[in-house]
């Protein structure tokens, strides 16, 4: 699913990454624990998280995450947005809870990080 479609499904606002709207996402992980993101395959995936720290951006970069979506309508401090911009990491903010965001993405065909539905 293209980022534009994901933004529509999640009622999300794009915070960073106007040039990345065409990338295609097939897998998604949801976690507030950074090591969980690093524990398995996550290259090119969508990360749903409630954390908006610098470490989320760095963890996602290390893991090769394709896009980060903040849940519960969170945005991030300017330095976090700047780090994402500098590293080419698209960011979105969705107004829904983690549960609802996961449900919507699953219903629209995304699978887990390991490919399971």
């Amino acid at each position: 699913m293209k980022l534009t479609e994901i933004a529509r499904v999640l009622d999300a606002t794009l915070l960073v990454g106007e040039d990345k709207l065409g990338i295609d996402i097939t897998r998604c992980g949801a976690s507030d624990l950074m090591s969980d993101i690093l524990a398995g395959p996550s290259e090119g995936s969508l990360l749903l998280t409630g954390l908006t720290t610098l470490q989320v951006i760095r963890t996602a970069s290390i893991a090769g995450i394709g896009v980060i979506v903040f849940v519960r309508g969170k945005t991030a401090p300017p330095e976090v947005l700047e780090l994402a911009r500098a590293g080419g990491m698209p960011l979105m903010s969705a107004p829904h809870s983690m549960f609802v965001a996961c449900g919507r993405l699953h219903a629209h065909g995304l699978s887990g990080l390991n490919g399971h539905r």
Binding site: D32, L33, M34, S35, D36, L38, A39, G40, P41, E43, T49, L51, T53, L54, Q55, V56, R58, T59, S61, I62, A63, G64, G87
Partner: protein, 146 residues
């Protein structure tokens, strides 16, 4: 790839810059066209090791040594040391504070993630003397791929 060695200082409790050294290691490997899967494995190990120092140690050093057939990543710190290495290797075991948990750390997956991604890992730790984690990655052969 002929002998290339880089070292990075890691400052304890500095969460503004925590992870920067590993991002630089990752960029370095990308710039010399190391296999992307190997690059990710090294980057994950580097990041977990770096975060361990930031969270638990009194400063530390991260070094990467790239030879023709292997890459060695080493994370060293002067203390306080790991009380029970075997326990620290158990997935989910963590001594991280509530403050660190709130920042998304302390999942208890740091050392297990490092073990999983490195072809070989040696952990030498003594209370009061510090910790040395040495991870080796084979470049020529097909290593572990996660």
């Amino acid at each position: 790839m002929a002998g290339l060695r880089k070292s990075f200082f890691i400052k304890a409790r500095d969460f503004v810059h925590a992870g920067e050294a590993s991002i630089r290691v990752q960029s370095l490997l990308k710039s010399i066209h190391v296999d992307p899967r190997l690059t990710r494995r090294v980057a994950v190990c580097s990041y977990e090791g770096e975060m361990n120092v930031v969270m638990h140690a009194d400063d530390g050093l991260l070094s990467v040594d790239i030879g023709p057939d292997r890459l060695v990543l080493e994370v060293t710190d002067p203390g306080p040391g790991i009380a029970d290495v075997e326990r620290a290797m158990q997935p989910g075991f963590s001594t991280a504070s509530d403050e660190l948990h709130e920042m998304g750390f302390g999942a208890g997956m740091g050392l297990p993630n490092m073990k999983k991604n490195a072809d070989e890992i040696l952990i030498d730790s003594k209370i009061g003397q510090g910790t040395r984690v040495r991870m080796t990655f084979l470049i020529q052969e097909e290593g572990k791929n996660t």
